[in-house]
Point group: C2
Chain length 716, copies 2
C-alpha cells in the first residue's frame, strides 16, 4: 500500500469524525433523543420536567461543553458513578495512553528516522511523499545485518521494561482499590450468601429440608437461613405478563395525574370511551386479569415439586459464608457444590442446572461451540484478505479487472473496504460469545460477561491478528501454523507485511467504533423505529456498558500498538488518536448513558493484565524472528531471555496479586465482621438478607423501582 | 530383529531368574544377611534371639515357602503392614495384571493370528520359526487397505472401554478406602496442624509473638498453640554427634548386659582395658563429652535470632486447622502462606525457606534443572540406539566390523546389551530426581517423593519411549518432533519399528529390575563392604520403599503394554511375566523388608490414573496414525472420537474423585471432630500435640525408639 491510499482512508475517517462529533453535539440536546444519549441523567431526574423545555435556538448549535465535562471527571466521581469496574475500564485506556506515549516517543523520534534513512534506499524519494510505499517507514527498509537493528533491539527491551513496571504499578493500585472498596462497603447480601447446587435429597425429604438439616448440622453457629431456587415451567410467560402489567400501570397513573394528555394525545384512538374514568376502568380491569394470571402461575411455581436442587444459603457473617464455599462440603465432591453468591441484581435466573453432570455437559458444549465459531469465523477474514490482495481478487472475478484499474477505486478497496467489512462481521462476535457464555452454566451476569470478554478477546486476536497475518502470506495453508518451530520465522515474515493493513484497520475500525459508541447508532435507529409504538413516558431501562464488547476492543488495539511499535512506528500516532477519542467518549458515556448493573470490584483487570503480557511475548517472539531473518544472530539470541523474564514477571504477579481478585482474605473478612458486630442495624440487615434472593418472576407485582406500593391501593 | 535373537535374550534372563530365585531362597536364611533381606522382621523381633539359631543343613536348601507366604497375604494384612500407600502400590500391579490378562486374550487369540496369516506373506515360513523376523507377528505384516485392520480397530475400542471401566472402579475403591482410613484413624498431630510460612514481623517483635497475636486475633476459638521452626547453622554437625552418641550408648548397654561378649569378641581389640568397667568408663566419658557438645549447639539454636519465618500452628480441631489453610490469610497473598502440615515423622527439616521469593526461585531452579537433565539424558539413549542399529555402529567404528559379523555377538549386542546399558543409566534417574525435588521447597518427604515420582515417570516416558522411538527412525532430527501435525504419522511409522526393542526391553530391563529388587544387590554389597566396621548389634534402620523409583517403573511397563498390545501382541506374555514376578516379589518385600516412613493415604493413585490415561491416548493416536498409513481412512477417522472420549472420562474423574485426594471435606472433618469431643483422652493428646513437631536435631538426646529413658539414669 502506498502512502496516498493511507491518506485517503485517514481523510475519510477524519471527516466522519468531525461529522459525528457535530451531529452528536446537536442531537444530544434534542428531547426526542434524551433516552438514547442521556438515559442515565434522565433516570436520575425522573419526574422532573426540567428537560422538557420548549424549543430554543441554542439546541441547534453544536456545543463542545460535554467534552470539558468528561475531561474534568475525577476518578472519585467516576467511582461513584460506575463503581470500580468503570474505574478499571478507564484505567485500561489511560494505561494504554501512557505506554503509547512512551513507545511513541521512541518510535517516532528514534525508530522512524532509523527506518527511513539508515540505508539510503535508492528508490526512496523524500519529496514524492505520497507516492512512497509505506514499507519505507517500517523495519523492512533496513538491510540485513545492519547494525542499526540494535536500536530496535534496545527499544524492545526498554519498552518491555517500561510496560512491566507500569503493569506492576497498576495491578498493585487496583488490588489496593479493591481491598479498600471492600473495607468501605456496607454489608451486602452477596457477602453473606453462598449458592449451593447439586443438593442430594433422600426420598420423602424436600430440598429445603435437606439444606436446612445439612447446614444446621455442620454450620450451627453461622448458618442463618436459606432460599431454595424454584423452577417455573413458564417463567418467560410470567415475565411478559409482568412487563405488560407494568405498562398498564404506567398508563393509568399517567391518565390520573395528567387528564389533559389523554384528551390531547390519545383522544383519537380511544374516542370510544369518551371520558377519562371509562378508560381508567378499562385498563384497571385488564390489569386485574393479568394480576390474577400472574398469581396463578406463581402459586404453581411454589409447589414442592418445583424446587430445583440449588439454594441460596445465608450466613450470619461474611467469614462464615466464605468458610462454606472454600471447603469441599460433602464426601462426594459432586454434591453440595458451593460457590460465592452473586449480588441479587446480578443473578442470572434463567439458568439453574440441576445436576453436576448437566452443568458439566452444558459447559463442554459451550466450549466446543466457542471453538467451532472461532474457527469458522476465518471465512470472512479470508474474504477480507482477498480484497487486500487485489491480484487474488482479479483472479477470482476476472470481470472486475476493468473497475479495479481505476486508481480511486483501488485505493478505496485496499485502504478502506477490507477493514470495514471485517468490522461489520466483528459486530456479531460479542453477542454470540455472550450467548455462548450464558449457556455455559454461570449463575451471574458478571461472570457471563467476564467469560464472554475472554472469549471475544481470543477470538479477535486469533481471527483478526493471527489469521490476517498468516492468510495474507500463506493463504490456504493455515495448517502450517501448527509447525511450532517455525512460528517465529513465519511471524517475522508475515507481521511486517501486514503493517499497512493494520494501520488502516486502526483508522477505520478503531476510530469508527469509538465514534459509533458515542453516537449509539443502533439504539438511535431502534428508538426511531419503536417511537410510534411507545408512549414517551413508558418505563425505559438505563443500559449498562457491555464490557465484553468494549474491553476486548481496547485490548486488541493495545496488542496492535505493542506488536507494531518497533516494526512500523507510524501506527502509533493513529493508535494515540484512537485512545484519546476513547478516553473522552467513554467518560462521557459513563456520565450520561451507562449505569452499572453489577459490581465485580475490579475482576476485569486480570484479563487486561494477561492480554498485555500476551502482547509483550508475541512482540518479543516477532522481534526474535526478525533479527534472525535480518541475519543479526546475536540480537536474535539475546532476545531469548526477554520472553522468559516477562513470563516470570507474570508468574510473580499471579502469585502476588491474582489471589486478591479471586477471594477476600480471612483477615479482611474477620475484621469487617467485627465492625458489623458493633453495628445495631445488623438485625434489620439480616431480615432483608433472607428475602434478598428471589427470582423477579416470582415476586409479588411491584410497579416502580422507587415506589414499593402495590397495585392494591391504586385499584381499590 | 529375528526370533532367535529374542530367544537368546529370553534364555539368558530366564536362567538369571532361576539363579536369583535360588540364591535368594538360600541367602535369606543366613543370619549374616538378615539385615538385608528381613530387616523389618528383625526390627520387630529385636532383642529376641530366635533368629540367631545355630547352623543347620536346612539353611542351605532353597525353599519356596516365602512365595506361598507372599501369595497368601490379604489386603487387610498388607494395609496393616504398609498402610494405604502399600495397598495402592500393590493394586497398581494387580490393575495392570487385570488389563493385560484381558488385552492378552484379545491380543494372542485374535490379533496375533490375524497379523501372521491375514495376508499369507510369501517370505514367511511357519516351520522356520526361529529364523523369522519378529515383524511377522506385528501389524506391519498386514497389507495396506486390508479389512483385517478393522479387527485391530475394534480391539482398540474394546480395550479402551475395559481400561476406563476398571480405572473408574479403582479410583472409586481407593477414594472410599482413603475416606474410611480417615474415619477410622486415631487423632493424629498433622490433622490438627498447619504450617505457616512467610510470616511478617514488625520490628521489636519476634516471629513467635507475631504468630501468637495473629492467630489469637483471627482464630480465637480454635487456636491452640504454635512452634516456630528454628534454624541451626550446624544442624548436620548435631546430627552426626547424635548418631555417634547413640552408637556409644548401644555399646555400653551391650557391655553391661552381656559381659561374655566383650571378652569373647572385642577382647583382642580392647585388651588394653582388661576389664569391662574400664571400657564402660571410657565410653561413658566419651558420651558425656558428646552430650555436652550437643547441648551447647542446641542452646545456640534456641536463641531468638535463630527463628525462621515459618511455624507449625496447632488447632483444637481438624476443622479449625483445615479452615486456616483453605483461606488466604492475609491481605497480601505472599504473607502468612498456610499449608497442611505433614506427619511429624514425615517433615523434611533441612529445608525451610524464609521468604516467598526464595521459595519461588528455588522452585524455578529445580524445574529448570529437571528439564535440562531430562533433555541431556538423551545422550545415552542415542548411544543405545546406535547399538540397535548395527549399521550406524559399523559406520562409526569401522574396526569393529570383524567382530560384528559373528552371529552370537550380533545377537547379544542387538538383543541384550542395549537395554542393559539403558537400565544402568536409568538407575541414576530416581536419585537425581529425588534430589531435585528435595530442593524444590517441599516440606515433607512424602511430597518430595510424589513430586520425584512424577518427574521420574515423565523423564522415563520421554527418554525411553519417545526418544527411542524417534531417534531410531529419524536420528539427529529430534527437532522434527515439534511439528505437531505430523506426530500421529511419525508415531505410526516409528513405534511399530521399535517393537522388537521394547520386547527385549521388557525381558531384560523388566525382569532384571524386579529380580534385583528381590535380591537387593546394592544393600547386599554394601552390607558386605561395611561388615568389618560394624558390630552386628549396631542400630540399623528399616528401609522404606522408594516409591519414586518403583511406581514409575511399573507404570512404564503399563504404558509399553497398552501401546504395543495391538501393534505387537507378542509383548503381552513377557509383560505378564514381569507383573507376576512383581506381584509376588513386592508382597514379599512388604512383609520382610520395607516399613512405611509416612502415610499419604493413597495420594499416589492420581499419578497412576494420569499415566494410564496418557498411555491410552498415546495408543489411540498411534492407532489413528497407523490406520491412516495403511490407507484405511474410515478407521482412522473413527479413531478420532476415542481420545476425546477418554479425555472427557479423565475430566470427569478429576471432578469426581481427585478432590478427595487433595483435602478432606467439611463433612468428614466435622464428624470426626465431634467423635473426638466425646473422647476423654483428648486433653492428653493436646499436650502431646504441641510438642510433636520438633527438629530431631534439637531434641534432648534419646537413645531408643522403644525406650524413652535418657542417658542420665545410665550414667549416674
Amino acid at each position: 500500500m502506498i502512502v496516498s491510499a493511507l491518506l485517503t482512508s485517514v481523510g475519510i475517517n477524519t471527516a466522519l469524525c468531525v461529522l459525528f462529533f457535530t451531529c452528536y453535539s446537536i442531537l444530544r440536546k434534542q428531547p426526542t433523543t434524551y433516552k438514547v444519549y442521556i438515559p442515565r441523567l434522565l433516570a436520575e431526574e425522573q419526574g422532573n420536567s426540567k428537560r422538557r423545555g420548549r424549543f430554543n435556538l441554542q439546541r441547534l448549535i453544536p456545543s463542545p461543553d460535554w467534552v470539558a465535562k468528561a475531561w474534568n471527571l475525577s476518578e472519585e466521581q467516576l467511582f461513584s458513578l460506575s463503581g470500580l469496574d468503570g474505574v478499571v475500564f478507564m484505567r485500561t485506556i489511560t494505561f494504554c495512553l501512557k505506554i503509547f506515549t512512551f513507545a511513541g516517543f521512541i518510535g517516532i523520534l528514534v525508530l522512524l528516522p532509523v527506518n527511513c534513512w539508515a540505508n539510503h534506499m535508492e528508490d526512496f524519494d523524500v519529496y514524492d511523499f505520497a507516492g512512497n510505499s509505506l514499507d519505507v517507514f517500517t523495519i523492512s527498509n533496513i538491510n540485513s545485518g545492519s547494525y542499526w537493528l540494535w536500536v530496535h533491539f534496545l527499544a524492545v527491551y526498554i519498552v518491555t521494561g517500561f510496560i512491566c513496571l507500569l503493569l506492576h504499578h497498576e495491578y498493585k493500585y487496583i488490588a489496593s482499590k479493591r481491598i479498600s472498596y471492600f473495607y468501605s462497603s456496607k454489608p451486602q447480601p452477596h457477602q453473606f450468601t453462598i449458592l449451593v447446587h447439586s443438593i442430594p435429597t433422600s426420598s420423602g425429604c424436600s430440598v429445603s429440608d435437606s439444606v436446612e438439616s445439612f447446614f444446621k448440622e455442620f454450620y450451627p453457629s453461622t448458618y442463618l437461613s436459606h432460599a431454595v431456587v424454584r423452577r417455573t415451567s413458564r417463567t418467560s410467560k410470567i415475565r411478559s405478563l409482568l412487563s405488560e402489567s407494568k405498562n398498564l400501570y404506567q398508563r393509568i397513573t399517567q391518565l390520573r395525574s395528567d387528564p389533559s394528555q389523554q384528551n390531547h394525545k390519545r383522544g383519537s384512538c380511544f374516542g370510544l370511551f369518551g371520558r377519562n374514568d371509562n378508560l381508567i376502568d378499562h385498563y384497571r380491569k385488564q390489569l386485574e386479569d393479568i394480576e390474577e394470571n400472574v398469581r396463578l402461575e406463581q402459586s404453581e411455581a411454589s409447589l414442592p415439586g418445583k424446587e430445583t436442587r440449588a439454594a441460596f444459603v445465608f450466613f450470619k457473617s461474611r467469614y462464615g459464608a466464605a468458610t462454606a464455599f472454600h471447603f469441599q462440603q460433602s464426601v462426594n465432591p459432586t454434591q453440595w457444590i458451593a460457590e460465592p453468591a452473586p449480588e441479587p441484581r446480578d443473578v442470572y435466573w434463567p439458568f439453574f442446572f440441576e445436576s453436576f453432570l448437566r452443568r458439566w455437559t452444558s459447559k463442554l458444549v459451550a466450549i466446543v461451540a466457542t471453538i467451532l465459531f472461532t474457527i469458522s469465523f476465518l471465512i470472512p477474514v479470508v474474504i477480507v484478505q482477498g480484497l487486500v490482495n487485489l491480484n487474488q481478487l482479479e483472479a477470482l472475478f476476472p470481470y472486475l479487472s476493468g473497475i479495479l484499474t481505476i486508481k480511486f477505486v483501488t485505493q478505496v478497496i485496499t485502504g478502506y473496504l477490507p477493514s470495514l467489512i471485517l468490522q461489520l462481521f466483528l459486530k456479531v462476535v460479542p453477542p454470540v460469545m455472550g450467548f455462548l457464555s450464558s449457556i455455559q452454566g454461570y449463575i451471574s451476569n458478571s461472570n457471563i460477561e467476564i467469560s464472554a470478554c475472554n472469549k471475544v478477546l481470543w477470538c479477535t486476536i486469533w481471527n483478526v491478528f493471527l489469521a490476517t497475518v498468516f492468510s495474507g502470506s500463506v493463504l490456504n495453508q493455515l495448517s502450517d501454523i501448527l509447525d511450532l518451530k517455525n512460528i517465529p520465522g513465519k511471524l517475522a515474515v508475515s507481521v511486517p507485511a501486514q503493517a499497512s493493513f493494520f494501520i488502516t484497520y486502526v483508522v477505520t475500525q478503531g476510530w469508527t467504533s469509538v465514534l459509533s459508541e458515542l453516537f449509539r447508532i443502533v439504539p438511535l435507529i431502534f428508538s426511531w423505529i419503536s417511537k410510534p409504538f411507545k408512549s414517551p413516558d413508558d418505563e425505559f431501562e438505563v443500559p449498562s456498558i457491555p464490557y465484553h464488547r468494549d474491553v476486548p476492543r481496547v485490548l486488541f488495539f493495545g496488542l496492535l500498538g505493542i506488536t507494531y511499535f518497533f516494526l512500523a512506528p507510524l501506527i502509533i500516532p493513529f493508535i494515540m488518536v484512537y485512545f484519546c477519542l476513547a478516553y473522552i467518549i467513554y467518560r462521557n458515556q459513563f456520565i450520561n448513558v451507562y449505569a452499572p448493573k453489577y459490581e465485580t470490584a475490579g475482576k476485569f483487570w486480570p484479563i487486561v493484565h494477561n492480554s498485555m503480557i500476551f502482547s509483550l511475548v508475541l512482540m518479543q517472539i516477532i522481534a526474535g524472528g526478525i533479527f534472525a531473518l535480518k541475519k543479526l544472530t546475536p540480537a536474535s539470541t539475546w532476545m531469548l531471555p526477554l520472553p522468559v523474564l516477562t513470563l516470570l514477571f507474570n508468574e510473580y504477579c499471579r502469585k502476588r496479586f491474582l489471589p486478591i481478585f479471586i477471594a477476600y482474605s480471612a483477615e479482611s473478612l474477620i475484621k469487617k465482621d467485627r465492625e458489623d458486630q458493633k453495628d445495631t442495624a445488623m438485625a434489620e440487615f439480616y431480615d432483608k438478607l433472607v428475602i434478598a434472593y428471589k427470582d423477579p418472576a416470582l415476586l409479588p407485582i411491584q410497579y416502580s423501582s422507587n415506589n414499593d406500593s402495590l397495585i392494591s391501593p391504586l385499584v381499590s
